[in-house]
Amino acid sequence: MVDFAIDLKNVTKKYDGFMLNNVSFTLPRGCIMGLIGANGAGKSTIIKLMLGIIKKDSGDIKLLGCDSDKLSNEVKERIGVVFDESFFPENMKLREIERVLANIYKNWDETVFARYISEFGLPQNVAIKDFSRGMKMKLSIACALSHNAELLVLDEATSGLDPIVRNEILDIFLDFIQDENNSVLISSHITSDLEKVCDYVTFIDNGKIIMSDEKDLILEKYAVVKCSQDEIDKLPCEKTIGIRKNKFGAEALTETKAVPADFIAEPADLEKIMLFTAKKENRK
């Protein structure tokens, strides 16, 4: 049996005007999964449900083998979380935050924290409120990595950062999963980042999972076909995920195997898949 770091089964959560509908996916240990979706697709809701910050209406969520409704402190010790903002009290300084966290996490590692702080160039004597957005994100990431977590959960954690820092951080994640016990779930709409590091990809749109599989399988499975507007109708309907037409021609995302021989097809990337899948939902 595969040991899953994250295991969601038929998870449903209803809000006014939004519903997370029957969401299921799994992340095997030792892997990085990207959760891709537009703003408001339900990425953050999934992450909050997983961490027990909000409560599901139905379904089953397991984190490191434990029910997410009643995560014990021992399990939470093994999880590092980074949200899209930092939630540290604004008046505190780095040293003070470390003192707080060192008293919360049993496995807090001063040496590792100090290393990330100097690597990220974070100032010691500046209150958090004077940190830039990038600095706050770096601090959150440093905190998540400094208590020997086995599972990192990152919600839009790289979105406020410049490409250079994003690359640095992605490398840190790749480094992190060198230990086969470690896993990462990273939600983002920056598909290029996810394309670079992820083993698994889950597409979510409007509260529903569109697809969830190994990244390479997804990329192999789909192709982008470019042709004229008339020709596009010849594509097999049930194998076509989405179509976009403009005055110069048409583009379609379709299964690679279903592309007729006389059509020009190029491999799809995650961004194309995101665009076409989201579009499909909108058409309905």
Partner: protein, 233 residues
């Protein structure tokens, strides 16, 4: 949980400095003036200390700490317990501060202990009423209710003091009189010189009151936990 309390103390640092300054000034005035005013000054710093856990909750709200804090190895129960514990710690600190100043100025310690113990009980009652309301409604919405809860006993004390002053015949000690009015249990001391026996009786009443307030605080804590368990962030 220790980490959470450290975080709150860091957050409240400015208030704590102010709290110590006010505490010292008021205690000095109280002791030097040697009148019933002293008791109400001590009351003020103790009630101030009971307010600080509420301020700590509002800091958490502003930083949206809870969403983040709950991903850490701290349960919802512990998150709530930390605020109650903070209240107890700060009240105890306020009491110690009062004692220190009292000793320094050679005040009547029997009276002092009685007043401080009772005020600590009042602090616990404050927290018991306020914290569940704050957890239920948020500090923003709970503000008016908080104001009412804080002002009401003050008005009662003031009314009591006024009544005491009016019924004073020369040479009567006012503090005992005030205590009588405040503790409620022994409200019927009117203008008679308090005897030693009466003071010990009063003290017993005060101890029972404070013990009861601790029990009420525990019940309040259980209520807050059940409110907080249902919260989503």
């Amino acid at each position: 949980m220790k980490g959470l309390i450290i975080k709150d103390l860091y957050n409240l640092r400015k208030q704590l400095v102010l709290y110590i300054i006010i505490g010292v000034i008021y205690s000095v005035i109280g002791v030097v003036a040697k009148d019933s005013g002293g008791s109400s000054f001590i009351g003020l710093i103790l009630i101030f200390s009971a307010m600080l856990p509420i301020t700590a909750v509002s800091y958490d709200e502003r930083a949206k700490w809870d969403k983040y804090g709950l991903t850490m190895p701290v349960s919802r129960r512990e998150t709530v317990a930390a605020k109650y514990l903070l209240g107890v710690i700060l009240t105890a600190a306020g009491a110690l501060l009062s004692f220190a100043v009292g000793l320094l100025f050679g005040a009547d310690m029997t009276e002092y202990v009685a007043v401080v113990t009772m005020l600590a009980g009042i602090c616990f009652l404050y927290l018991s009423v306020l914290l569940p309301i704050v957890y239920k409604m948020g500090t923003e919405k709970a503000r008016f209710i908080m104001l009412a809860v804080i002002l009401l006993p003050f008005l009662l004390i003031m009314a009591g003091a006024l009544y005491a002053k009016n019924s004073v015949i020369g040479g009567t000690k006012i503090p005992e009189n005030m205590l009588g009015n405040m503790s409620g249990a022994t409200a019927e001391i009117s203008g008679v010189q308090a005897e030693a026996g009466m003071i010990s009786e009063l003290m017993a009443g005060i101890l029972i009151f404070t013990a009861v307030s601790l029990v009420i605080m525990y019940i309040s804590y259980r209520i807050s936990v059940s409110i907080y368990r249902r919260k989503e962030f």
